[in-house]
Amino acid sequence: MTAANSEAVLPAKGIEAPRSGRIDPKYLRSNPSSGSFEMVAWVFMRVSGAALVVLIFVHLFTNLLVGEGIHQIDFAFVAGKWANPVWQFWDLTMLWLAMLHGTNGMRTIINDYAEKDSTRLWLKSILYLATTVIIILGTLVIFTFEPCLVDDAGNLMDYAPAFCENIAN
């Protein structure tokens, strides 16, 4: 009786690495990530950081050093700045970059310090929610800002800044 040897088959995943079966599962990387999100985030941090240095220092300079300095800042000053599309765009860029830069920084800190995946999930959910709310609110304020509010009769409200009188006349 001749029984043919069964054909040799290599294991589907190749030969296992030595002692690979006895690694504490907590050290095994679950699934290799595809895409380059972490690389994009890393580059974004550097680019936005450099941009924010310029944006913030020009912002501080125009607000605090030019003209009457710190005494000029009031409701009317902000209203005056946002009447200019350049400053609207400037502040919008600053808001978005600062929020995303800070959020990504917090995200990496959570990744580095949270030990359990469930803790990570919770902390990051709160972080992303807060970021979304602030970005949307901030963007709305910049674009829908109306300093000279009028009542139904077309008269300026009491708390409208003084320069609204000049515009109205």
Binding site: R29, E38, M39, V43
Partner: protein
Amino acid sequence: MSTPTVEKEPASKVDLASSGQGATAVQQFDITLKVRRYDPERSEDAWWDEWNLTMFGTDRVLDALHKVKWEVDGTLTFRRSCAHGICGSDAMRINGRNRLACKTLLKDLDTSKPITVEAIKGLPVEKDLIVDMEPFFQSYREIMPFMINSSPAPTAERVQSPEERQRFDDTTKCILCAACTSSCPVFWTDGQYFGPAAIVNAHRFIFDSRDDAGDMRLEILNDKEGVWRCRTTFNCTEACPRGIEVTKAIQEVKTAILTRSL
């Protein structure tokens, strides 16, 4: 028959100072060695043991550990193989810094205070100063630490210029002692990060002109647990007993991944 007179050889051809006192001339001092012990068969918790020892100026931390194991407490457990800074077996946390016990002279430490010795952090402790190195070697295996070249082997060696060899010279010095990876705060958190040692050994092949699989290694290290988790805290560079500029190597791999993507 006369034998030729042979001038008698002096005991030593080297001129030794007559006032030498031999071994006693070596500086001698007392130290307190404080070791973090762990034995799962004895207790769930780790504990600290202290020994007062008289050591010599030529002794290393490893000699103090040997003195304890051989003369005081035979249950003290640690790894060491060559004991001369090459095998990378005896990396441990000495006075809070990752060092090779066989390369750290006692006289270079503050002997007025107890010298603390712990197992390296971030890897599961098996007993006393011995940790399970498998997770560390798993990451090492993942970056494929061997030359991959699909072109037919030449009759002689694969030629490389001195400049091409110099490109990755620094990272060839790694002895896989895990001092860098276990000094990395990102690795401490959950042990998922590839760790400096794996990246250093990937660097050794990525920048080798004879190797063809650099792209594959860069792709592996572009993982979310790869080079982008490096926070450039320089703990690894400070810990490396071979003086490898680990953080610089990681940075070079980051740059290589970036330029490859652009």
